[in-house]
């Protein structure tokens, strides 16, 4: 007995040592992620404790996916309360055993109508939707052709599928066409893309992609997590914006960003494909139902955004204003139309330093650098919300200018920044 304990301790000691070294490696490489504790509901103004133990301070949040400002909206919170009363706290079951309520069906029907598809299936998250969909639908006779910048959850989902994996250069239609030609011998071809790419905030060329899909007999998959609710004239998503509403075979999206920001995701699209996911997708079959309180909140969100486009219009206006303010101040930003506005700094340490200084000035943003973005492409990703007022953006730009001056990056080209700081 004593021997067994000793052996176990020896094994545990080795495991601990191994992972301590790995963690030190991450720290030394500047890749260690630290949580910041928010002492308030998600909003444009939040109180943040950072580093852990520090007195919480009031900052403007420019890094949430709270695009429509609905995460703490009183009507959504009230609907969630009512849902909690009416349908309880949890389901203690997966959907197909005893985890489906009338409101799950209602939410799926509302999402179907909103997205302009034929059917919808809820998942615990969009990560789960992406993890389950490819394995459920494709086999070894098929090929998945993905944009090289798709979200990590799609990459994981593709890895779980037996279908052949292929990629095309980011938004490069000529390259996609080559791949479609190359794979004419496959049973099914599935083109896979994000609607809005989370790194650069650029939109997929869905009009061209659908045209290619029609020419070469392929299906189209779009993850519209960073678009549903606000991209397009009525906020239906990238397919609305690009004039291909109703032409996307599979859409996945999340309830965890614009649509209230709680959690949950879905697969929406052609009826047979969605039904097959209901039969086969493992995260749907083997993970618990989305809780009633979230379903009730999401139903209210859909009601609010179907009633008026006010919120997505306000977000569009904020985006335009913020892009203009940054450009006029002399920052180098990625051009585009989405509320993801990356401020390019190119150099990893510079991105970290600027984010830290902005936090000190009361602006909460995060620096991204390799390996989460390509080498030499370090940036600060700012994200707008309909909850931002003009005063927020004015305060934020003041802070950006102050910090920009300190680091001497205003009105500087990429070349000038990289000459000074390196890549």
């Amino acid at each position: 007995m004593a021997d067994a304990v000793e052996v176990e301790q020896g094994c545990l000691a080795r495991v601990r040592q191994h992972f301590r070294q790995e963690l030190d490696g991450l720290r030394n490489a500047g890749l260690f992620k630290e949580e910041r504790f928010i002492h308030a509901p998600q909003a444009a103004d939040i109180e943040v404790e950072f580093p852990a133990g520090a007195t919480p301070r009031q900052v403007i949040n420019l890094c949430a996916n709270n695009y429509l400002g609905l995460s703490s909206h009183p009507e959504v919170v009230a609907a969630a309360h009512a849902g909690l009363e009416a349908r309880g706290y949890g389901m203690s079951s997966v959907r197909f055993i005893c985890g489906t309520q009338d409101i799950h069906r209602e939410l799926e029907q509302r999402l179907t109508a909103f997205l302009g598809t034929e059917d919808t299936l809820l998942f615990p998250s969009c990560m789960d939707a992406n993890a389950g969909v490819f394995e459920a639908l494709l086999g070894e006779q098929d090929v998945m052709i993905a944009d090289r910048l798709v979200h990590a959850s799609i990459v994981d989902g593709m890895r779980l599928s037996k279908a052949m994996q292929d990629t095309f250069k980011h938004s490069d239609m000529a390259h996609l066409e080559e791949k479609l030609q190359e794979h004419q011998d496959k049973r099914f071809r599935l083109i896979i893309t994000d609607g809005v790419f989370s790194m650069d905030g650029d939109l997929a060329r869905l009009d061209d992609i659908v045209a290619l899909a029609e020419r070469y007999g392929a299906m189209v998959f779009v993850d519209d997590s960073h678009a549903t609710g606000f991209i397009g004239k009525t906020g239906r998503g990238t397919h609305e914006q690009k004039g291909v509403f109703g032409k996307i075979d599979i859409i996945t999206t999340t309830l965890g960003k614009a649509l209230g920001g709680a959690s949950g995701g879905c697969v929406s699209g052609r009826a047979e494909l969605v039904e097959m996911c209901r039969q086969r997708a493992r995260p749907y079959l083997f993970s618990n139902s989305v809780p009633p309180v979230i379903v009730a909140g999401a139903l209210k969100v859909l009601e609010l955004i179907s009633r008026t486009t006010e919120r997505r219009d306000a977000l569009e206006e904020n985006t335009r204003c913020w892009r203009r303010l940054l450009t006029e101040a002399g920052f180098d930003i990625k051009a585009g139309e989405s509320p993801i506005v990356p401020v390019m700094l190119y150099h990893a340490k510079l991105a970290q330093d600027v984010a830290r200084d902005l936090f000190a000035e009361g602006i909460y943003v995060v620096g991204f650098f390799f390996p989460v973005v390509p080498k030499g492409q370090a940036r600060i990703r700012t994200q707008l919300s309909a909850a931002h007022q003009k005063a927020h953006l004015d305060r934020a730009i003041e802070a950006f200018v102050k910090v920009g001056r300190k680091h001497d990056i205003l009105n500087k080209s990429k070349k000038a920044i990289t000459e000074r700081y390196g890549l």
């Binding site: 790995e22 993905a146 090289r148 910048l149 798709v150 979200h151 990590a152 990459v155 593709m158 052949m164 994996q165 292929d166 990629t167 989370s198 790194m199 991204f368 390799f370 390996p371 989460v372 973005v373 390509p374 990703r381």
Partner: protein, 101 residues
């Protein structure tokens, strides 16, 4: 040097095999030996059991291509070396950058 179970083949003086040549010769001989004198026939029992369970079973010789970087690794197979490497390239490409949430 050669024992009763080792076959030695002398290469011509002019031959200067690369590490890859040697690996391929070894793999080829190993495949021939395994086909002709398998060390056990246990795989047949596995195959039979799977067939009884309703599987259609097939086994074949394939190329394997591997790539390692830090804690990441990719492995691809193909009927030809270029097929394996093409798939390996795709597997590595799609995870080129980790991406952001």
């Amino acid at each position: 040097m050669a024992g009763s179970n080792v076959i030695e083949v002398t290469l011509p003086d002019a031959a200067t095999p690369t590490r890859e040549d040697i690996e391929q010769l070894e793999a080829t001989f190993r495949a021939i030996v395994d086909l002709r004198f398998p060390d056990s026939r246990d795989w047949q029992k596995v195959e039979e059991a799977l067939v009884i369970d309703g599987w259609t079973v097939r086994s074949q010789l394939m190329w394997v291509a591997e790539a390692h970087k830090g804690w990441e690794s990719e492995l691809a197979t193909g009927r030809t070396k270029s097929e394996a490497f093409k798939q390996l390239q795709q597997l590595a490409k799609i995870d080129d950058v980790a991406g952001v949430p």
